[in-house]
C-alpha cells in the first residue's frame, strides 16, 4: 500500500480544503496566478469532484502584474468555469501608486495589502485560502495552517491557537476571519513534481524564453510595458530568462536559464544555490520584512 510523501501531502491538503468549505459560511480562494495557486486550485477541484468548487476565487490585481499572467488568469477562469472576482484598489490607481514611483514597500502596502483587505471586507469573506508554504520564508514557518486574523486582518504571531492532530479550531468571533494555507507542508520541489505528475497548466513565464530585460541593482527586470522607464545607463537586452516566482513585474527578477520544460526546471532547481524568494524585492526591503507585512494583513 505505497503512499509516498506527495500522495500524503495531496490528501492532507484536500482534507484542509474540505474542512473550510464545511465550517465557514463564505470562504474564498486567493488566486495569485502563480504555480502554488495553480496547485491549490487543482487540489480544490479534486476535493469537490465531480462537483464544482463551492466557493469563489479572488485575484487582487495590483495593475502591475505581467501581461502574460492576466492572460493566463482569464483563460483558466474560462476553461474551468470558475467564479472569479478581480479586485483593484481604485483609490491607489487614482493616486497613481506604483512600484517605480512609490517604491516596493508603499506599492505593496496600498495595492496589495490594503486592496486585499478592501476585497475581504466588501464581500464579507470569513475565510480565505492562500497558497503560501512554510518552507518559503522564515516567519511563514511558524504560521498555523488555520491562521486567525482580527477585525483589522492583523496576524498576532505570539497569540496563535495551538493546532493539534488534524482537529482544526474553526470557531471565530464576529468580524474575525481566517487565512488558510493548505500547502503549508509542501516544499518547492514538491510543488514542481506535482505540477509535472498532474500535468497542471502554469503561466509560460516560468519557462525560459528570449525576453527583453534590463539590469538594475544586479537584478534582471523584464520590460513588460512602457511604464518601466529605462535610465540612460541601462540597456534593454534580449536574454534567455525565466521566473522562479511571479509578482509585480518591476519587483520580480528574472534568472538566466535554459529550462524550457518542467523536467529542466526541476533539474535546475536541484542544482540551484539560491532560494525562490531571492527574486522577490519585497522580502528584503526591511529586516524581518515579511513578518511585518503579515502582521499588517498581507498574506
Amino acid at each position: 500500500m505505497a503512499f509516498n510523501h506527495l500522495k500524503k501531502l495531496e490528501s492532507e491538503s484536500i482534507h484542509i480544503i474540505r474542512e473550510v468549505a464545511s465550517e465557514f459560511t463564505n470562504p474564498v480562494m486567493l488566486y495569485s496566478i502563480g504555480k502554488d495557486s495553480s496547485v491549490m486550485l487543482h487540489l480544490a477541484i479534486k476535493a469537490f469532484a465531480p462537483n464544482k468548487i463551492p466557493f469563489k476565487l479572488l485575484h487582487v490585481d495590483t495593475t502591475w502584474k505581467f501581461k502574460e499572467m492576466i492572460k493566463f488568469r482569464d483563460q483558466i477562469a474560462r476553461e474551468y468555469n470558475l467564479d472569479l472576482i478581480v479586485h483593484i484598489n481604485h483609490e491607489g490607481v487614482k493616486n497613481k501608486v506604483g512600484p517605480i514611483s512609490h517604491g516596493s514597500k508603499t506599492h505593496t502596502d496600498i495595492m496589495k495589502t490594503q486592496s486585499l483587505k478592501q476585497a475581504l471586507n466588501k464581500f464579507k469573506f470569513d475565510a480565505a485560502f492562500g497558497g503560501a508554504r512554510r518552507d518559503e520564508e522564515k516567519s511563514r514557518a511558524k504560521e498555523r495552517i488555520f491562521s486567525f486574523r482580527d477585525i483589522n486582518h492583523r496576524w498576532d504571531p505570539k497569540n496563535q491557537k495551538p493546532e493539534l492532530w488534524n482537529l482544526f479550531n474553526t470557531k471565530i468571533s464576529k468580524d474575525e476571519s481566517v487565512r488558510i494555507f493548505p500547502l503549508s507542508n509542501w516544499t518547492e520541489v514538491d510543488v514542481w513534481q506535482y505540477i509535472y505528475q498532474e500535468n497542471i497548466p502554469i503561466v509560460p513565464l516560468y519557462f525560459a524564453a528570449k525576453r527583453p530585460v534590463i539590469k538594475r541593482d544586479n537584478m534582471l527586470i523584464m520590460v513588460d510595458d512602457d511604464r518601466l522607464e529605462i535610465n540612460k545607463n541601462e540597456k534593454v537586452e534580449e536574454k534567455l530568462v525565466r521566473f522562479r516566482t511571479l509578482g509585480c513585474y518591476p519587483l520580480t527578477a528574472a534568472i538566466e536559464s535554459k529550462a524550457s520544460n518542467i523536467e529542466q526546471i526541476i533539474i535546475e532547481l536541484l542544482e540551484s544555490k539560491n532560494s525562490e524568494r531571492q527574486g522577490r524585492l519585497i522580502d528584503s526591503d526591511q529586516i524581518g520584512s515579511m513578518e511585518i507585512k503579515k502582521q499588517d494583513g498581507y498574506f
Binding site: H5, S22, K46, S139, A141, P162, W165, N166, N185, E291
Partner: protein, 623 residues
C-alpha cells in the same frame, strides 16, 4: 542527474515527521540548523542573510550561527529564544523530513504537545554538560502521553566534554531510569555535536567508541510508525457531495483500514447499512482505497448521512457514549474548572460539554498523581467528561484521530486544551432515549386527569406532610391517581446513602425531582413534600417539567412557630448542637420568590389549606 532517476527516487521517498525537544540551550535550533545545512537545504541567499544577522545577534562570534536560520520570528531573534512551533523541511536521498521545532521553556509546554500530536519520532536533546533536567523528564512524559512511539536521545555538545564515553554512558543510565515506565517502541542513544556536526550526517572520528549509526541514518531507517491499515475501515464524514445530477457522495479522509467497492458498511449513529458503490480517490475512480486517503464514496442506496457521521465496518470497536475519561493538557492561562461548559471539537464535530470530575493532576517531573481542583496552564490531568450528546470515538491508543479532541472556550473561541480519550464510561453508553408509543398524553386520557407535580417546600415542622397527606386523601376520593413522595420516607430507601451536607442535599433533591418526573410521566398527580431549601435546586426540579406541570407550594410557617410545634423534637436537638446542618438553625432556607401557591398556616387549619390547593387545581383545569 537525469529526471527519470530523480522521479523514481522521489516516488519511493517516505515522509517522516519528527519533533525536536529538550531544555533551553540544549541546542535544538543549532541541531535543526545543522540538519538543514548538511542536507544542503539552505540556499546561498538565506545563508548570506543569516551571516548578516549572525553579526548582529549571533552567539558564535565570527562563525555563522545556525540557530538564527531557525529562530524565524523577529522577536525571537532579538530575545535569542524560540517562542513558538516552527516547521522545517529537508530531505535526503531516502526520506523527506518535516521537523517541528518546539521551545524548551516550561511555559510553552503546550507548543510541544502541539508538535508531538503530529510527529512519528521524537528527538530528545540532552546537553551532555548538564545531563537530565526537569524539562527532559517533562518532554519524555509528553511524548509518551501523545504516543510518539519512537524516541532518539541525542546527547549533544559532546565536544564540550572531550567526547568522553563515560558521560554518554551515565546519561543513558539516568534516562533508562526516568523512562522505565513508558512504552516506547524504540529508544536510540546517539552522542553528537550539532555545532561541529559530529554524528549528525557524518560519523565522528572523535568518538570511535560509538559503533552505531549517525542521527540521519537512524532517522532514515524508521518506517512510518503509526499505521491503522490493519484495522477495519472507518471514515468520518467531512463533507456531503451533492450535485444537481443524481450524484450523492460522502467525502472524508479514511482514518483506518481499507475499503473496496461492494463492501458492506454501517453508518454511525443511525446504524443503517449499505454497500460501497463507487470510490473517487484523488487519482480518479478506484476499486479500493485505504488509510489516510482523502476520498469521496457513494453508496448503493440512499441514506441520510451528514457531516459528523461515521462510515465504518468496525462497529465492534467504535464506542458511542456521551461520557468518557481522558487525559487533558491545559493550554490557557484561565484555569480549567470542573462543571464549566466548554466546546469539545472531536473528529468532524463540535459538541458542548463539561469536565465533570478532575480525578488527579500529574506532576510532570516526578510522574506522581496528585489531587487537584483545577488545571492551570500546562497542567496535565486525568478527567471525566460529559458531553451534551453521544458521539462516536475510539480510545486514543487505538486510533489517534478518533480518540483525540481539543477544548474550545465558548466565549472567545480560543483553543484552551487538548485531550486523549482513555475509555468510555459505561453509565449511559449504548443507552439512547426510546420514544415510546404509549406516551404521557395517552396515559393522561386513560386516567382522566392531567398529571402534575405538587412541590411542597417549607421549614421542618411547617406542616408540609400534614397538608400533602390530607390533599392526597381528597384527590383519592375524587378518583384521582396520586402518589406522595415524603422527605423522611425517601431518606429511608432511595436516598439512605445521603447525609445533610449541602452537596448531599443537592443530590437528595435531584433524585427526588427525577423520580417525581417519572411518576408524572406515568400519569400520576405526584405530591412531593421536601424541605428543599435552595432556590437553585427547586429551579432544577422545575426545569425538568413542562410548563403548567409543576406547582410550587410554599408552606409559609414562621421559624418560631415551627420551633414551637417541633413535632419530632428536632429543633431542640439542633439548638443544643446535637444536630448539625439543620435548616433554619445552621443551614439556610431560601424563601421562594414566586411560588404558584403560598399557604399561610397561622390562620387556617390543614383541611382549609388542602382545599385552597384543590381550588387552585380546579381553577387551572388540572382536575
Amino acid at each position: 542527474m537525469d529526471i527519470e532517476t530523480f522521479f523514481k527516487k522521489q516516488n519511493f521517498k517516505n515522509q517522516l515527521k519528527i519533533l525536536t525537544c529538550g531544555s533551553v540551550d540544549d541546542g535544538k535550533s543549532t541541531l535543526i540548523g545543522r540538519l538543514l545545512f548538511d542536507s544542503k537545504s539552505i540556499y546561498s541567499d538565506q545563508l548570506s542573510q543569516t551571516k548578516f544577522e549572525s553579526e548582529k545577534y549571533g552567539t558564535q562570534g565570527k562563525e555563522i550561527d545556525l540557530a538564527l536560520l531557525i529562530d524565524g520570528l523577529q522577536a525571537e531573534r532579538e530575545q535569542g529564544i524560540t517562542i513558538d512551533v516552527a516547521y522545517r523541511y529537508f530531505e535526503t536521498d531516502k526520506c523527506k523530513f518535516i521537523i517541528a521545532d518546539t521551545p524548551g521553556h516550561q511555559e510553552y509546554t503546550r507548543n510541544m504537545a502541539t508538535g508531538a500530536s503530529n510527529s512519528d519520532v521524537g528527538i530528545i536533546l540532552i546537553d551532555s554538560t548538564k545531563g537530565i533536567l526537569d524539562q527532559t523528564k517533562r518532554h519524555t512524559f509528553i511524548l509518551s502521553l501523545l504516543e510518539v512511539n519512537h524516541v532518539v536521545i541525542a546527547i549533544n555538545k559532546m565536544d564540550l566534554v572531550n567526547y568522553d564515553k563515560n558521560v554518554y554512558d551515565e546519561i543513558i543510565k539516568s534516562f533508562e531510569i526516568i523512562s522505565k515506565n513508558f512504552n516506547f517502541n524504540s529508544k536510540k542513544y546517539i552522542p553528537l555535536s550539532a555545532l561541529v556536526g559530529d554524528n549528525v550526517f557524518t560519523k565522528s572520528d572523535n568518538m570511535p567508541w560509538y559503533k552505531n549509526e549517525t542521527l540521519i541514518s537512524t532517522l532514515e531507517k524508521f518506517e512510518v510508525s503509526k499505521s491503522y491499515i490493519d484495522e477495519k475501515f472507518s471514515m468520518p464524514v467531512q463533507w456531503v457531495n451533492r450535485s444537481s445530477s443524481d450524484f450523492r457522495g460522502y467525502s472524508g479522509t479514511i482514518s483506518s483500514g481499507k475499503i473496496n467497492v461492494n463492501d458492506e458498511i454501517t453508518v454511525v449513529p443511525s446504524g443503517e447499512k449499505a454497500k460501497i458503490k463507487k470510490i473517487l480517490t484523488p487519482d480518479g475512480n478506484s476499486d479500493s482505497s485505504f488509510e489516510n486517503q482523502a476520498v469521496t464514496i457513494s453508496l448503493d442506496k440512499e441514506i441520510d448521512i451528514s457531516r459528523g457521521d461515521l462510515i465504518t465496518s468496525d462497529l465492534k470497536n467504535i464506542k458511542i457514549a456521551d461520557q468518557f475519561s481522558a487525559h487533558i493538557i491545559w493550554m490557557h492561562k484561565d484555569a480549567m474548572l470542573p462543571e464549566r461548559n466548554y466546546i469539545f471539537r472531536l473528529i468532524n464535530s463540535y459538541v458542548s460539554g463539561k469536565i465533570t470530575k478532575l480525578e488527579h493532576k500529574i506532576n510532570i517531573n516526578s510522574y506522581e498523581k496528585i489531587p487537584a481542583k483545577s488545571l492551570e496552564l500546562n497542567d496535565i490531568g486525568y478527567c471525566k467528561i460529559a458531553l451534551s450528546k453521544s458521539t462516536f470515538f475510539k480510545s486514543y491508543s487505538n486510533n489517534n484521530q478518533l480518540g483525540s479532541f481539543v477544548i474550545i472556550d465558548q466565549f472567545n473561541n480560543l483553543t484552551v486544551g487538548a485531550g486523549m480519550i482513555d475509555y468510555e464510561l459505561r453509565r449511559s453508553t449504548n443507552i439512547s432515549w426510546h420514544e415510546m408509543t404509549i406516551d404521557k398524553k395517552k396515559r393522561s386520557i386513560m386516567n382522566s386527569q392531567k398529571p402534575c407535580a405538587l412541590w411542597f417546600t417549607g421549614l421542618s415542622g411547617s406542616g408540609k406532610s400534614t397538608i400533602a397527606n390530607i390533599l392526597e386523601q381528597k384527590l383519592h376520593r375524587l378518583n384521582k391517581r396520586t402518589y406522595l413522595l415524603d422527605g423522611d420516607n425517601v431518606r429511608h430507601g432511595l436516598n439512605k446513602d445521603l447525609g445533610f451536607t449541602d452537596a448531599d442535599r443537592v443530590e437528595n433533591i435531584r433524585r427526588v425531582a427525577e423520580v417525581s418526573k417519572l411518576m408524572t410521566d406515568a400519569g400520576l398527580i405526584t405530591l412531593v413534600s421536601f424541605i428543599s431549601p435552595f432556590k437553585s435546586e427547586r429551579k432544577m426540579a422545575r426545569d425538568l417539567f413542562e410548563k403548567d406541570e409543576f406547582l410550587e407550594i410554599f408552606v409559609d410557617t414562621p421559624l418560631q412557630e415551627c420551633e414551637k410545634r417541633d413535632p419530632k423534637g428536632l429543633y431542640k436537638k439542633a439548638r443544643s448542637g446535637k444536630l448539625k446542618n439543620f435548616t433554619g438553625i445552621d443551614s439556610d432556607y431560601e424563601t421562594p420568590i414566586s411560588p404558584e401557591i403560598k399557604l399561610q398556616t397561622l390562620s387556617k387549619n390543614p383541611e382549609e389549606l388542602a382545599d385552597e390547593i384543590l381550588n387552585y387545581m380546579k381553577k387551572n383545569n388540572i382536575i
